[in-house]
Amino acid sequence: MADFLMPALGADMETGRVVQWLVAPGATVKSGDVVAVVETHKGAIDVEIFLDGVIHDLVPLNTPLPVGAVLARVALPDAAPVTATPALAQTPTLAPALPQQRLTATAAAAPAPAPARPRISPAARQRARQLGIDPVTLQGHGADAVVTLADVERAAAARSAAMPASAVPPARGGGFDPAQMRQAIAAAMARSKREIPHYYLGQSIDFAAASDWITRWNADRPPEQRLLPAVLLLKATARALQAVPPLNGFWENGSFRAGDGIHIGWAIALRGGGLVAPAIHHADRLSLSELMEHLRDLVQRARSGGLRSSELTDPTITVTSLGDRGADSVYGVIYPPQVAIVGFGRVQPQPWVVDGQIVVRPVLQASLAADHRASDGHLGGQLLAAIDKALQAPETL
């Protein structure tokens, strides 16, 4: 038997609660399967399991539990020989909690686990829970069929028309809450500023080559295949980290632990306030088109629910890019236990000296905040220089 624990979905999480189990007791699970939806201050997160075996003793829904609490037990195949009980054989008994549609989808997705539950905005999820409506029964009318607040209200209106008021379950509070998220960010950032001796470096980068390259790439492609400058920044940072590995990893128990890959946490501002920086795994190995696809998917899921637990636990560094309407530059606060955060301001036309002449160039302000316990400014400067160099040859990214 092994325990499946409440994961720490970032340094700023203390408690969470399971709002949906995507497997039935007795189901066979594989490492990497999404088995539960856990509500945190970052919204609803699809939690993966990293055990193989048969899952039992699932905790009840909606109970607040601390990080590290046991959520379920898993009988490992070698420890306890299990008479193979396919998940599907058990499903009919679970009909009320898990509609058939959900189980079929989960089973079909098993080889390449993907969240099969409907996408739902955090506000809609919270309202649905208050009203006691199961989101899987709802038809989404938002982008990509996301279930919106309006869909929930519509369903509630339809139900109350069909059902006596006394049958409506009592409202439950909680769920995603901007004030709670603000508090969690405050705690993590205060800890960062208290514990991490930051040093800061800034560098102006001529963005003309990157800009021209993107314009040419986008010119003859339909909108859905176009790239944003953000993907060049991501890839250039990932490449630079290959050359400067001491900035990619964690400060733990008084020493540096290198990341097991380059997993860039991409800071995403949430509408209505708050911030989340989920990982793009192995960003250095992805093509620009793949990175763009990941980025679009990540932004969509960060805002409408459905981030995966590994995306919140794995980032080895954070990148924050302010985009085309942001400020000129940004100096970030390191997200512990990471050791660095790279910031990019808005690209703007600026005077620039080329061969002793002043010309106008699109210029990008790049910055680095890094943990002085793990590295020095000399090394940090190498990272920014490597990012600059990579952006001068966008065709190689």
Partner: protein, 78 residues
């Protein structure tokens, strides 16, 4: 497409990107990105939605014509 259809289309596409954004509160000449706080990813998704549903390719060099409601209606009705 009639100007009315274009407005409905824009509102519909927008609802999927920024569900709380209300196109009705945006002036004809206001920059949609500023008024609705759309970042570059939001705006690209907006263009993708408009392009797919109107059948127009909307090259990147035309984006500035779609920054305002008036420009957008003019562009897609031409």
């Amino acid at each position: 497409m009639s100007p009315e259809d274009i407005r409905l289309l824009a509102a519909d596409v927008l609802a999927g990107i920024a569900p709380e954004a209300d196109l009705g509160t945006v002036g004809e000449h206001e920059d949609l990105r500023e008024a609705l706080d759309l970042d570059s990813m939001d705006f690209l998704n907006f263009i993708i939605g408009l392009s797919q549903r109107s059948g127009r390719p909307i090259p990147e060099s035309d984006y500035p014509q779609l920054f305002t409601l008036q420009g957008l209606v003019r562009y897609l009705s031409s």
